[in-house]
Amino acid sequence: MTDLSPARLERPSAVSFLGYTLGLVIVFWCLAGAGFSIDKVMSSPPRFADFASRAFPPNMDPQVLARLGWKMVETLQIAVAGAVIGVILSVPIALVAARGLIAGPAVNQIVRTLLGFIRAVPEIAWALVFVVAVGLGPFAGMLAIVVDTIGFCGRFFADDMEGTDKGPAESLTATGARKIDVVACATIPAAMPAFISTGLFALEKAVRSSTILGLVGAGGIGIELKVGFDLFDYPTAMTVILMIAVVVIAIEQLSGWARIRIIGDQQ
């Protein structure tokens, strides 16, 4: 009987065998290069406790809280504006970046490469570009967030759409629908939970990377954090981190709520 069964592993070709081996070797070489050491991790708790003791308790002075709260509102305002515009612009970009959706492989490749460039350019460089373009201030910060969001969401939206079940799309294609209609009616509904997850992450990312706002003179909570650290004022930095955490977790809740509504219980 046993001889009926197929081989456990298809015999890998020489090339792919080499590929796997090389991959493993590289990972271990990287681990070695990173100076991996369990000892070091083990010996850290006491030093760490000392450090933590200097950050606790967070600074809860009402005046400081009020100021930080206000900066957080500023930050949120710009982050929301930038993320919303970025997410909206990402949808058409993702449509042409996704393989097998509406554009051919050459276009996919070009758009994905451009998105890669956008991500490769660091925040500080985008900040400079927009300071040059529109001057210091919140608008430059917002534009930097828009670009950052496009680099992130454009790629993920495209990947999310590629991963959807092709069945409904095929059946709609059979009705004679245009590609764009098929995408709107079958692909996007299928990818919607992933879109929400990615889009709200982009908002969260915009809030967290509010240091970018500090770079362009738009105030925001990022500058408070930097100054807190630079002045060794860990309790205040801690307060800022806690505020950011509250926002991040609130966005996470919103995302969960929206996703559950869309995914449904599927029973």
Partner: protein, 268 residues
């Protein structure tokens, strides 16, 4: 009355000014009769580009920043913000056996952000003054002040060059460390002043008017700058007229640190 745009960047030791500029701003507006729009900026590169693009008029910044911004945009100094005790130091652990800067040859030394006056350029200059070439004789690391400080405490690095005032403040906050855990093995002379500079596109006479107005109401403006500080370490600061020549020393620091492009003497 005109509306000026004023950016505050990298004013070491006066970081709070970036956060709590409200009183300073009102003092300025009262003194000049103009309105000022404030931009706290974390990147001197961004400020320089804004000045060059003429989207900002005045900048409050430190000496090293002035040197590079001046080079890039021809902005000129307007008023110096003279502060007491603005200097840097080289710190080691008291138990390290290092007593002289020359003992640091071949050792790990941490500095602050690249291009920071008191956390990088100045300590490097100090080493050079003691006969240690900061580029070739030591193993240098650039990191943030707190990381450098923690690393020194743990003995990951042998010495740390930083703003002396900041160091003293931090050390005083470390109540659990025995007294005398650290020692300074060298310190610099006082550094040139932080300043308010003006963009090249602002007409000279207008700039002078603003300067005179500020100098005329010195007391209020200083009070504005120091208004929110918990302690009085900045009390005693002064507003002074300055000239560019005072910064040649800083320019030479750049060359010494391995970045000759900002040094007048080499450039000429």
């Amino acid at each position: 009355a005109e509306n000026w745009k004023l950016a505050v960047t990298d004013v070491e030791g006066m970081e709070r000014l970036q956060l709590e500029w409200g009183p300073f701003k009102s003092a300025l507006e009262e003194a000049t009769g103009d309105t000022f729009e404030f931009f706290p900026v974390n990147s001197r590169t961004a400020v320089a580009e804004a000045l060059r693009g003429e989207t900002v008029d005045f900048v409050v910044s430190g000496p090293a920043e002035y040197v590079v911004i001046n080079k890039l945009t021809n902005a000129t100094p307007l008023i110096g913000l003279g502060r007491p005790d603005y200097h840097c130091t080289i710190v080691v652990r008291a138990d390290s056996g290092i007593n002289l800067p020359t003992d640091l040859k071949g050792k790990k030394v941490a500095f602050g952000d690249i291009g920071s006056t008191s956390n990088m350029l100045c300590p490097m200059q100090v080493l050079a003054d003691y006969g240690v070439d900061p580029v070739n004789d030591i193993e240098k690391t650039h990191t943030s002040r707190n990381i450098a400080f923690e690393a020194l405490k743990n003995g990951d690095i042998d010495a740390l060059g930083m703003n002396a005032g900041t160091f003293v403040g931090v050390r005083n906050g470390q109540s659990e460390l025995p007294y005398g855990f650290f020692k300074m093995i060298a310190r610099s002379g006082d550094l040139p002043n932080d300043m308010i500079m003006v963009g090249a596109h602002v007409p000279q006479d207008v700039a002078m008017k603003v300067r005179d107005a500020i100098l005329g109401s010195k007391a209020q403006v200083i009070a504005g700058i120091t208004a929110h500080e918990e302690n009085d370490k900045y009390v005693g600061m002064d507003l002074v007229a300055i000239e560019d020549g005072a910064y040649d020393y800083v320019r030479s620091m750049y060359a010494n640190a391995g970045y000759p492009q900002f040094d007048n003497f080499i450039g000429d």
